[in-house]
């Protein structure tokens, strides 16, 4: 450890740490544009210049390593003046289009100008005209006038994806980052470019002009679209809009997690968010007659049917189709209730089909919890209609993944043979018409629980959004069902997914909380 002084405050930090990191750990922010923790410092924006006692020139915080006893000043007059000077340069050639810029409100340049600048422009010259709206990827728009040449995009494409679609062209004030020969950026991580751009030079066409950043609240969640389980931040509408807003979620950004995804997420995870608001099933549906079902009547009805099978020793007449979008806790409850207590045998899993993995983050498994299901004790047996015994009376289906995977006529032929078909799903689909009872459930950002990623990391998450309509999380439905089925495990104590996870730890070594 090394002891240094930042703005006269003693700070202990690791040997070899940069001034920037030491200051950050001590809660002292240092303005920066080109610095990004994922990359080696480039030292080109010159925003992070600080004064070091005994050193004549101002030095870069991003690249200068601390030395024992170093006295650093991050906001004395000289440093603030230098910062203002750099800001003045950046603003001189920068367009004044904050009112129509999507980055406004979360723009580093705008923030720093408010903090250090607020000067009147002395720039009496003509600003350079540059390309304002160039498509550089199917999802990205590039505004050369707003670019501050931090080169984060160039470095990202060089160091993270290795695809190198962007480079630096021209020289001096005509320097620009651009794609080469109009060949668009085409990789599964391109959305990160809009996210790491510190200004509004690269904007996401999915987000452009849809809302303003200050209307959005952020919530921590986990991406469920493959088994990597990347940490994400869900940005959702939280404020009053002058016009009705048709959706809650406006974008998903990556959330730093050194153990799993670093600073990035893939485009599949980033752009899949419309599933949260689109096609949602928000009411309990009882197709057989016009009786209006509520949770209070639906769960007893289902419990009664199941209990009857159990009492008659006809447990083989129940079949369950599960999926691995379900959380560890939900799968554990399913195991306790249907495998251990009910002794059901016909358990299948229907997940979205595997895709292709890449060597950055994306895995082949396109659900978040296959590893969790295996650790809980499921064998992930895929659905085989021929194995679904001819005497199935009740079929319980979780999720709507049967649609699109099997020929709908075939599904109908098989389902028609079964007396009671119950679907628990967050989304409406073609499957609904073939069901007797449809129970609306929550999507991952609406519930709490945990998921086990491909590497066996168990990650807990909390709800970001409120549930939609009558929907309820599956864990709650299962607890209610278990109570009414007189299940023989301590279901009454299962008051939350956190309690369930703790219980899981006692029963399954894998889920024992690691210190």
């Amino acid at each position: 450890m090394v002891k240094i002084f930042i703005d006269e405050k003693p700070v202990e930090t690791k040997e070899g740490a940069t001034i920037f990191k030491a200051a950050q750990e001590a809660g002292i922010p240092i303005p920066h544009l080109c610095y990004h923790p994922a990359f080696e410092p480039e030292g080109t924006c010159r925003m992070c210049l600080v004064e070091i006692e005994g050193v004549p020139k101002l030095e870069l915080a991003c690249s200068t390593q601390v030395r024992e006893g170093m006295k650093i000043f991050t906001r004395n007059e000289r440093v603030v003046e230098a910062r203002k000077g750099v800001l003045e340069f950046l603003c001189a050639e920068h367009p004044l289009d904050c009112p129509i810029c999507d980055q406004a409100g979360e723009c580093k340049l705008q923030d720093y100008y408010e903090e250090y600048g607020l000067f009147d422009s002395q720039f009496r010259e003509v600003k350079e005209k540059r390309r304002k709206k160039a498509q550089i990827a199917k999802n990205l728009i590039h505004d050369q006038e707003r670019c501050v040449l931090c080169r984060r995009c160039v470095r990202f494409l060089r160091e993270v994806t290795g695809t190198r679609e962007m480079g630096v062209f021209e020289r001096g004030n005509h320097t620009e980052v651009n794609i080469l020969d109009e060949i668009n950026i085409d990789n599964n991580y391109s959305g990160n470019l809009a996210e790491i751009c510190p200004v509004g030079a690269i904007t996401d066409s999915d987000f452009r002009f849809k809302t303003r950043s200050w209307f959005l609240a952020e919530g921590d969640s986990i991406c469920p679209h493959c088994s990597r389980g990347c940490s994400v931040s869900i940005h959702y509408n939280s404020a009053f809009h002058r016009f009705p807003v048709p959706k809650r979620v406006f974008r998903v950004n990556s959330r730093t997690n050194p153990d799993i995804n670093g600073y990035w997420i893939c485009d599949i995870g980033r752009y899949a968010y419309p599933y949260i608001d689109k096609n949602r099933c928000d009411k309990i549906i009882f197709n057989n007659d016009n009786t209006q079902l509520s949770w209070e009547s639906a769960i007893p009805l289902i419990a009664k049917k199941m209990r009857r099978l159990k009492d008659m020793d006809n447990t083989s007449h129940l079949a369950i189709i599960m999926n691995t979008w379900l959380t560890n806790e939900e799968l554990f409850l399913l195991k306790k209730l249907f495998v251990d207590y009910f002794q059901a045998e016909n358990i299948f899993f229907v997940d979205p089909p595997h895709g292709e993995a890449d060597d950055v983050l994306l895995t082949a498994e396109r659900t978040p919890n296959r590893k969790g299901a295996v650790e809980i004790g499921f064998d992930l047996r895929p659905l085989d209609w021929s194995e679904l015994s001819g005497n199935t009376d009740i079929l319980l289906i979780f999720g709507s993944f049967l649609t699109g995977q099997t020929d709908s006529g075939e599904v109908k032929t098989h389902l028609d043979k079964i007396e009671t078909k119950i679907l628990l799903t967050p989304h409406s689909s073609d499957l609904d018409a073939l069901m007797d009872i449809i129970l609306p459930t929550a999507v991952i950002p609406e519930k709490s629980g945990s998921l086990t990623n491909v590497d066996g990391i168990v990650q807990e998450f909390a709800p970001v959004l409120e549930g939609i309509g009558e929907s309820q999380p599956e864990w709650k439905i299962l607890i209610d069902l278990a109570k009414l089925m007189n299940a023989d495990f301590s279901v009454k104590t299962f008051t939350s997914p956190a309690v369930i996870l703790e219980e899981m730890g006692k029963e399954i070594a894998f889920f024992k909380k690691r210190q």
Partner: protein, 417 residues
């Protein structure tokens, strides 16, 4: 006339060929260095000679070589900076044209001293003919066994390659030169790490100017004390001053370090052209702060020029007469640096373009009150804030011109009402 050391053979016909060079006692220094001296002894001799870099920064060559780690499991490289891009500078081209073997001898001794087996001569793209001459000289040296394997039976191997640049001023900055040599865009690197530890291809690298290396054989043959006697104790040897502008006899003049600027202009270079009055002198290449006619009683060595708030730089003396508009000088300076800024760091990229736009506007008769103060303010915000020395190289002459010739510049603004 002063004694010629580096330019001694310039008047000898075909001195650029190896036979004439050897006839004139050439390649004796490598005999001595490789056969009679250890690398440590050479390093001590060069250090003692106080040979300061001739490229511009004036860093002692021996000290620079000493920074290179002795034992390292990577190759080490010598990069010879023949980019000669500083406006007003035209000395290295003459060494390479007329005395290429003196340079090669310097390269061989330096490489032997530091333990280098590969040297690259990075030559500016415009010097095509000179590059060919170097190639010829290198071929001759290989044929005589002065390059290649086991030079003079010493067991020391060295290969030398010529690499032509593509015309960017910034590639004369040592780390941009390395990037360019590696085949990348010529952007300066962040320092530290310094090239002595992480340089070309991430290996320890020495980068020296042509004139610096050409002095090395002289030091080896004649000793450090002799070398210091030829110049100053702290700043040994001669300099090849390139005098250009409004003098009667522009050209290169090899003179002892410390020769007064006044003497160079009025004695050696024949005084002002057509009897015009001297107005200003840029004493060390365009990035050196300008001196007024009253300030030329200065000795041409590193320390004296620093004291005079300018710099010796590349020793390129640009003489400006009474008829030259300082606004045009300023415009030229601003145009050059904004054009040559690599564009990677903010103050240099935007600051220089800003100054250029303002000066252009002034020159076009649309100057406004406050323009000069603003140029000074902008240049001060560039000075000391940039990643590489180009920012300072631009800010220093701009600041000195605007401050020292403010009245003249203001007259342009007032003249336009």
């Amino acid at each position: 006339m002063a004694e010629k050391l580096l330019t001694k053979l310039f008047d000898v016909e075909n001195a650029h060929t190896i036979d004439i060079y050897i006839q004139k006692n050439g390649y004796r220094a490598i005999q001595k260095a490789l056969k009679e001296m250890t690398p440590e002894q050479i390093l001590e001799e060069v250090k003692a000679a106080n040979l300061r870099g001739r490229g511009g920064a004036g860093f002692p060559a021996g000290v620079k070589w000493g920074f290179v780690p002795k034992t390292v499991d990577k190759p080490k490289y010598l990069c010879v900076n023949a980019d000669e891009g500083e406006p007003g500078t035209f000395k290295d081209r003459y060494i390479m044209t007329h005395n290429p073997h003196l340079l090669l001898e310097g390269i061989i001794i330096s490489s032997y001293c530091v333990g280098i087996h590969t040297a690259y001569i990075y030559i500016r793209g415009e010097y095509e003919v000179i590059a060919l001459r170097l190639e010829e000289a290198i071929a001759e040296a290989y044929a005589k066994g002065y390059l290649g394997k086991d030079i003079l039976g010493s067991g020391f191997d060295l290969d030398v390659y010529v690499h032509r640049g593509a015309g960017a001023y910034i590639c004369g900055e040592e780390t941009a030169l390395l990037e360019s040599l590696e085949g990348k865009r010529g952007n300066p690197r962040l320092k530290p790490p310094f090239p002595a530890s992480i340089g070309l291809f991430k290996c320890p690298t020495v980068i020296n100017n042509i004139e610096t290396l050409a002095n090395v054989p002289l030091i080896i043959l004649n000793g450090a004390d002799w070398f210091k006697q030829k110049g100053l104790p702290k700043d040994g040897g001669t300099r090849i001053f390139g005098v250009s502008g409004m003098v009667a006899k522009p050209g290169i003049y090899e003179l002892p370090i410390g020769t007064p600027l006044k003497d160079i202009i009025f004695e050696h270079a024949g005084g002002m052209k057509k009897g015009k009055k001297l107005k200003a002198v840029i004493p060390g290449g365009m990035s050196a702060p300008v001196l007024t006619a009253d300030e030329i009683n200065v000795a041409m060595d590193f320390d004296s020029l620093v004291e005079a708030k300018s710099m010796l730089g590349s020793g390129a003396i640009i003489v400006i007469d009474q008829d030259t508009s300082m606004l045009e000088v300023l415009r030229l300076v601003a145009k050059f640096y904004s054009h040559e800024s690599c564009g990677q760091c903010t103050p240099c990229r935007i600051g220089n373009a800003w100054i250029r736009k303002t000066v252009d506007r002034m020159a076009n008769g649309a100057g406004q009150k406050g323009d000069i103060d603003n140029i000074i303010r902008v240049a001060s915000n560039i000075l000391g804030k940039t990643l590489c020395p180009l920012g300072d190289a631009a800010a220093m002459p701009i600041l000195s011109i605007t401050q020292k010739f403010r009245e003249e510049l203001e007259s342009h603004i007032k003249g336009q009402g």
